[in-house]
């Protein structure tokens, strides 16, 4: 049984018939070919698959595609505009906030959500806000610095 869905992904309206059980992350990765969103676990712990659903960070491995019907999704591919990196992407680069890069898309999108709610977070608030996203490479110190830097850049923009 297939269900029709209409989802706007990175500003582009998409329509597909999908199976009820198709996870949003597989819809993004395999139906749309947007492989920037990664799958790091199967229990909603790691946050690698985080995307923005109507502006809110969600773990796309725990959302059914049919649940996203009518929603606006932003993935990592949709952050840079006209070839210019989003201030958070730029800040992660400047502060060495990534190593293997696998957790990075989810980390950045979670940070987007965090800064939308709290544009000037303290370091403790950043650390708490990133608790749903795991990174095994960086030890988080430079990720925290990157989010702080991203917040400063977004405030200026």
């Amino acid at each position: 049984m297939q269900y029709p869905v209409s989802i706007t992904v990175n500003g582009v309206p998409r329509k597909h018939p999908v199976e009820a059980r198709l996870l949003l992350v597989h819809y993004l990765r395999e139906t749309l070919g947007l492989t920037g969103t990664n799958v790091g676990c199967d229990t909603s712990q790691c946050g690698s698959c985080t995307v923005l659903l109507d502006g809110k960070a969600v773990k796309s491995c725990t959302v059914l595609t049919v649940q996203a019907d009518g929603a606006k999704i932003t993935t990592i591919e949709g952050l840079a505009k006209n070839g210019k990196l989003h201030p958070l992407q730029d800040a992660f680069w400047a502060k060495h906030g990534l190593q293997c890069g696998f957790c990075t898309p989810g980390m950045i999108l979670t940070a987007c959500d965090l800064l939308a709610k709290n544009p000037k977070p303290t370091d403790a608030e950043i650390r708490h806000g990133l608790d749903g996203n795991l990174c095994r490479c960086t030890g988080y110190q430079n990720i925290v610095a990157a989010v702080r830097e991203g917040a400063a850049r977004m405030a200026k923009a």
Binding site: H26, Q99, G139, Y140, N142
Partner: protein, 785 residues
């Protein structure tokens, strides 16, 4: 300025693709006609397979084939080879079939595979494969497994003993007889799950017409995978192309050649289509290697003045159910040979028993053997200090190997390359204000606070390594590295390397080396790695070897480029070759720098060869191989300051000071990043991480819900310092920094917690130091003990 690229904290060149989602990890690849493979795994840790019925699964929607271990065997696929057999240890290497035949030996052991047109359908069908098991008794503890009457895993390994390996130096018996004090400890260096954020994946495309295989795989060493794959698949090595595309972390867990690599090759060959397998995280916890898992009985002997005279240890190393690629080398060569640490311990003896158990195979996990050695030594040094009522700093200073620059032999037979252990310690103490901190500790203790300071003054072995030594210690390959430097007519450069970085940033640091050596802007250099069809043979990225060994090869190739550039310049400037000098990106006649040629000028002329020395080969390209004369031995001091909440057992990290010495630093930003990540992984072992099995061999910590991977919360800002003691082992004087943080931080944290709890008389808690364990220890403590 190109000449200044060495030592500069420049931004990483690999980041833009990673930041924008353009990077391609193995699971991101889709090929025309590609099928998906799912693995049926045993729920039992030890059982006889009485029968497998694949009929129901085979008839399901989208299913292309269901196969068992026997099918693979009948198709000529052999066992997974063990690539490290430690000599002088009577190592048993039982068969490791990629899919179990007759017997399963751990929960997660593959029993069948299903290939279907779709990821979901493959999983559906995997659940429909019916396996009839006759469960057998189970043993998961390495020491227990060697006792009489325990379940036996492999007929050729009686008592489940894979090997008994020994290391000896000096006269340990005499040392212990002469000692004033002896301390003993049983240390459980617990089993850890690596948790690279990218799960493993493998995609095989076998082209029967040409007999060629391409395998995309999450690997730290594609050339080794190709070599081993040629052994178990029978496909000639020169017909195999292994590509490690973007790799999302490894930490050792992506060194091995795994059964699933062979499974996708078998499926692709059998079904005539590309086949991909991607593991789930829950699958990863059972089927990707684990690390550590030592039971250690250790004794240290010392004189009244604190001079350590001997170390004696007996270790049971849990190897799991089968031998993974490098598993026997980890608790022996990479552990036992490092028992002198940073100290002059003249008499050392260790017996290591490698033991098979009904658990997931173990292999290299960040630090690999050295954390198990460093924890042992650093903990015992503290226990001796405690017994003699000495300050942990004082005893370390008393026993340090004095500064050396040109090799220092230790009792285990190794010769350390260079070190200044006291230098790193002094710097760390200064950063900490040690006397001030101890004064405050006294005041806070009076108020009832449990605060502690812990030290780890480590030395480790990495930069693996000289190939002759690799051969002598039973490693089934070489450990040299390779590089090709290719200049294009436009002066832009491609570099092809045998190492296979996966987050460590060598695309940046190697470009910095080329830039500073040849006067090319960093942006003009592209580094290629991870594809056996593109890059020269090399042994890969592990053991913190990419930079110390890989840069040696790169420097060799750069040297050849410079030599050729001199000849071309001499021709262009009508001078003798021996009169050509090089400085800051320019080749010129000695004493006449005004008339010069840049490397870009030379590259153009060498590539078009219009006005060119007769007899000289055109082109500006050089390849080099580098085999180091020794390992490298980074070192440093890590100090942790902690507070323990007596009511809850919770540990708060107040400060963390780390001074590391990795020789000359190419990019300090990248070095610091490596240290940060390493520290957190080591703290994870001290405080939270630990794989647990129940008595039936079920992994209780089977998902990220049950196994604690450190989160962003709860860490102080790490205070980093560096000292710089170059090595003579490689041309640039660099040492590896990928593992030091993990090696150093576990004992620093542990020693700090024990210092905090010392007034209560708590002297030992097994890791991880979870609030519950700490709370229980506090409750059952006998003050004044």
């Amino acid at each position: 300025m190109a000449a200044n690229a060495f030592g500069a904290a420049i931004k990483r060149r690999e980041d833009p693709r990673l930041l924008t989602g353009q990077a391609r990890y193995t699971d991101d690849f889709t090929l025309p006609g590609m099928a998906h493979l799912a693995v049926v795994r045993s729920p039992y840790a030890h059982a006889r397979i009485k029968g497998i019925s694949t009929k129901k699964a085979a008839a399901m929607k989208g299913v292309l084939g269901v196969f068992t271990g026997r099918d693979m065997k009948d198709a000529g696929f052999g066992g997974i080879p063990c690539a490290w057999v430690v000599p002088g240890s009577d190592t048993k290497t039982p068969a490791y079939p990629p899919i179990a035949i007759d017997l399963v030996r751990y929960a997660g052991n593959a029993v069948a595979i299903v290939v279907a047109t779709d990821r979901y359908l493959a999983r559906d069908a995997a659940e429909a494969v019916e396996v009839d098991y006759a469960p057998l008794p189970v043993v998961t503890d390495a020491e227990k497994a060697t006792a009489k009457g325990q379940p036996q895993l492999h007929a050729e390994a009686p008592g489940n003993q894979c090997f008994h390996w020994k290391v000896s130096g000096g006269d340990v018996e005499a040392a212990f007889r002469s000692a004033d004090v002896v301390v003993k400890e049983r240390i459980i260096n617990q089993r850890l799950i690596p948790n690279a954020m990218e799960p493993r994946a493998a995609l095989a495309q076998y082209m029967s017409g040409a007999g060629e295989l391409t395998l995309w795989v999450t690997s730290q060493n594609p050339h080794i995978v190709r070599f081993l794959l040629s052994l178990d698949t029978g496909i000639p090595e020169n017909k195999i192309r292994v590509i490690a595309p973007e790799v999302g972390g490894g930490f050792g867990s992506k060194i091995p050649h795994y059964p699933e690599d062979a499974m996708v090759v078998f499926a692709s060959k059998t079904l005539g289509c590309p086949v991909k397998w991607t593991e789930t995280r829950s699958e990863n916890y059972r089927s990707t290697i684990h690390g550590r898992d030592h039971i250690q009985d250790v004794e240290m002997a010392a004189k009244k003045d604190g001079t350590i005279v001997g170390l004696r240890a007996k270790v049971w190393a849990n190897l799991g159910a089968y031998l993974s690629t490098a598993s026997t080398g980890i608790p022996t060569i990479l552990h036992g040979l490092m028992l002198s640490g940073a100290y002059e311990i003249k008499n050392i003896h260790e017996d290591v028993y490698g033991v098979f158990t009904n658990t997931t195979p173990t292999d290299a996990y960040r630090g690999a053997g050295r954390p198990e050695a460093t924890f042992m030594v650093e903990r015992l040094v503290d226990l001796v200090a405690q017994k003699l009522k000495m300050d942990p700093v004082e005893i370390r200073k008393k026993n340090f190997i004095p500064p050396f620059t040109d090799g220092h032999p230790v009792a285990t037979g190794l010769v350390y390359d260079s070190g200044n252990y006291i230098g790193a310690l002094e710097k760390a103490l200064q950063m900490l204000d040690y006397p001030g901190l101890r004064r405050k500790q006294v005041e806070r203790r009076k108020k009832g606070e449990l605060v502690g300071v812990g030290f780890s003054t480590y030395a480790e072995i990495c930069g693996l390594g000289p190939s002759q030594v690799a051969g002598a210690v039973g490693f089934g390959g070489g450990l040299w590295e390779s590089a090709i430097v290719r200049f294009h007519p436009s002066g832009k450069v491609n570099v092809f390397v045998g190492i296979s970085p996966h987050g460590q940033g060598e695309e940046t640091t190697f470009a910095q080396i080329v830039s500073s050596e040849l006067g090319v802007p960093v942006e003009d250099v592209e580094i290629f790695h991870g594809d056996t069809a593109q890059t020269p043979m090399g042994w890969g990225s592990y053991g913190s070897r990419s930079t110390p060994v890989g840069s040696g090869a790169l420097m060799g190739a750069i040297g050849k480029i410079k030599e050729k550039a001199r000849i071309v310049t001499a021709h262009l400037l009508e001078a003798a070759v021996e009169d050509i000098d090089y400085e800051d990106g320019k080749f010129f006649v000695k004493g006449a720098p005004a008339k010069s040629k840049t490397i870009q000028d030379v590259a153009l002329m060498a590539n078009v060869a219009w006005n060119y020395p007769s007899g000289l080969e055109p082109g500006l390209e050089a390849s080099a191989f580098f085999d180091p004369s020794n390992f490298v031995y980074p070192f440093g001091t890590h100090i942790a300051v902690v507070r323990v909440d007596a009511e809850t057992g919770e540990i708060k990290l107040e400060r963390y000071v780390a001074v590391d010495d990795c020789g000359r630093v190419i990019n300090p930003m990248i070095v610091e990043g490596q240290i940060h990540g390493g520290i957190v992984q080591g703290i994870g072992q001290a405080l939270w991480e630990g794989a647990a099995y129940d008595e039936n061999g079920q992994l209780l910590t089977g998902s990220m819900m049950d196994y604690v991977v450190p989160k962003a919360d709860g860490f102080p800002v790490f205070e980093l310092g560096m000292t710089e003691t170059p090595t003579k082992v490689n041309p640039l004087g660099v040492k590896g920094i990928g593992e030091t943080g993990t090696i150093a931080s576990t004992p620093a944290i542990y020693n700090a917690v024990m210092d905090a709890l010392a007034p209560l008389g708590v002297g030992k808690i097994d890791m991880p130091l979870t609030p519950e364990r700490v709370w229980r220890a506090i409750r059952s403590a006998k003050p004044g003990k």
